[in-house]
Amino acid sequence: MRGGLRLRLMQLVSLRGALLFVALGGIIWLLIASGQLDPTAQLFGGASLDSQAIRAEIATFMPLGMLGMTLLTVLLSTGPSFHFSPTEVNLLFVGPFSRRDLIIYKFIAYAAGAALSATLIAPFAQSQTGSAFSAFTATFLTLLFVQLNSAAVGMAWQAFEGNRLARLKWPVTALVCAIALAAMIHAWAVPDRSISGLISDVRHSWIGTIILMPYIVFAELFLARAHFPDLALWAAIAILINVLLLRAVIKLDRRTSEFSLREDTRLSDRWERMKQGGSFWATERSEIPSIRSAPTLGGLGPIAWRQAIKAARNSSKLIVIFIVGAACAGPLSSMAGVSITGKHGLLMLYFFFGFSLPRTLICDFRGDLSRMETYKTLPIAPWRICLGQLVVQVLLSYVIALTMIVSLLLFEDSLGAPVALALAAFALPLTLLIYAVENTIFLLFPAKLVPMGRADFEFLGRSLIEFILKTVVILIAVALAIGVGVFTLLTLGSTLVLSGLASWVSLTLIAGLAMIVMQFAFRRFVVAEAFD
């Protein structure tokens, strides 16, 4: 336990860790300060919704959502929730520690991470809960519950799995799903009934209340109106539930330790692949029919070919999820009555394409930190290597963007064909710019892709700083492109098409410039200095 704590503190003690932590703290402070200045201002416009309606939705859907998560844990869980890395297995398992000590060590490490997550979430949730303290308490205790609950339920199921009755898992699941589906179809078909009404009825029925009792406690934490007695009472019950779950985990661990060890190894292999830029769901096959030859294309071919294979074998499920998600953007925004081309919608889109997607789907230099040596020895010009590395990544992101544009064109009334065409045209240079900047930052300041645990202050701080830096560059580029377009319109006084073309050419040139900077960063990347 002390070792784990020391490790976290050591990250803070290093100059880089401390600087990034200060930056992270500053950003959190800014979020809180801006929230206090304008308590109605919310990032995604949540405050504009009726507060009473939100409370009703939390009371109804949060317990049901948590129950759903628990059931999914039973159905899909293949491993322990407290995961030990190979280093921890080699060092701690042979050390003078009991399994109980190790579980508590892991729990404390998780609690530290949960505290950090709660600190980040609290500024956004405080307008709902009434104060930052209550938002932090509710979030922190709920995060602990989610972890402990899934651990206890998963382990209980693993212990039960040898039983004959365990074979009924999938038939029972199918039966429950069929009943739920039938009920939903009934609710949809009958006038004056709705699916949300049906769910609300289930939640507020006496049987629903009994089944959902433990989960209702955590919903009430978010709904408590005063620190005392409401929050204090629910927090005390929540702490008690968490303590009982921790005890259950320690007891169940004795019966599942061998299984856990096997799963730890499997998970570690997957994490290792993730660190190399692979997906958690990458193929676990050992043999695959080989592609006989690679295209040359002046040296660009093999690099792009290799990244395309990586995307297909490592991230195909992820790509499908993103494309399906993008295709659903139009119908979903239409159903929710939220305009995705509005201010908040555009902000969400930028966050998705500028942060979430580049952090999840990785087929460029960022996944090749350990293979830079190979690229440096290839007889291929650096600019070709850089372009080859970006081609697949940019095209995949562009396909996702195009899917979303088409989906919005079909389902969103405010988006006409000319605007959709303009978006499709501008999306390509913008995507190239995003990944050129992303890779340039990575080549200048190479770092790991995944955090070392939840309380990796350096990683969190770095991610935020990178995102802000990237946003600044992109905003400047877009402002310049718009400026050129406006200048063209004012001086030539012609149609919007010509000024749009001028803007597009400007943005493409800026993306090209970013590629040149990226090539420079690749040239100056020194493998030995990055690793030794």
């Binding site: 193929t283 294979i309 990586k310």
Partner: protein, 244 residues
């Protein structure tokens, strides 16, 4: 042909290699030996363009690695101590990738021969992350040999190999040298140098302590009762300077 002239490499004020000069001719095998941190890997990495030299000139088959990197790298095969292969490619796809990168036309026949000689034929469709360390080493060597380079650099080539693998690699290195390649091997295995190398260079703290033909070095230091001639030479050379 490898030519190194007054090569130095500094890392943030620390001199990893100081004023190194040597040549390795076609058919010669130079053994690079020295304690940890002697500058062996830095020298090899500078020769293949991974790290830029702080000063000096490094030339591969007549091409300066800094001024004409593409031409130099076309003639170069490098096998690092821990080859980082592409996890999502199979063994055959690694050869296909190398062939495309080095523009090797009709590579299939050569690739088949290499797979056979390294006993990898049955693993052609295996994703490399499922291979053992020794197997991955063999894949890296097969890729390095595919474009028939004039210069081959090995960094700890026998790590993780089984006895059959070690014999196979030694044989392959000999054959490459006989066909005219200039080869450098960096290793801590002195026995490997005695059986394979024509020349020897002892590095310590980034400086060349001894460079010459293997026979000259062995003759100079002789053989003690308890150790081989090369072992005696190695300890005599490295300890002499350390004590001094």
């Amino acid at each position: 042909m490898i030519t190194v002239t007054n090569f130095s490499k500094h890392y943030k004020g620390f001199a990893a290699v100081k004023d190194l000069s040597f040549t390795v001719g076609p058919g010669q095998i130079l053994g690079l030996v020295g304690p940890n941190g002697a500058g062996k890997t830095t020298t090899l990495r500078a020769l293949c363009g991974i790290v830029p030299p702080t000063s000096g000139h490094l030339s591969i088959a007549g091409h300066d690695i800094v001024k004409a990197p593409i031409a130099a790298k076309k003639n170069l095969g490098y096998i690092p101590d821990d080859p980082r292969l592409f996890d999502t490619l199979t063994v055959w796809e690694h050869l296909a990738f190398t062939a495309a990168a080095y523009k090797v036309a009709n590579f299939e026949e050569g690739a088949e021969a290499l797979l056979q000689s390294f006993e990898l034929s049955h693993k052609r469709d295996t994703l490399v992350h499922n291979l053992s360390r020794g197997m991955r080493q063999k894949v890296a060597i097969a890729c390095a040999f595919l474009h028939d380079p004039k210069v081959i650099l090995f960094d700890e080539p026998l790590t993780g190999l089984d006895p059959q693998g070690i014999r196979g690699i030694q044989q392959a290195i000999r054959e490459r040298a006989e066909s005219g390649a200039a080869i450098i091997i960096s290793s801590h295995l002195l026995g490997l140098f005695e059986t394979l190398c024509t020349h020897l260079m002892v590095l310590n703290l980034g400086e060349c302590r001894r460079f010459g033909a293997m026979s000259d070095v062995l003759a100079e230091f002789g053989q003690s009762d308890s150790s081989s001639a090369l072992e005696s030479a190695y300890f005599a050379i490295t300890q002499k300077r350390s004590d001094g």
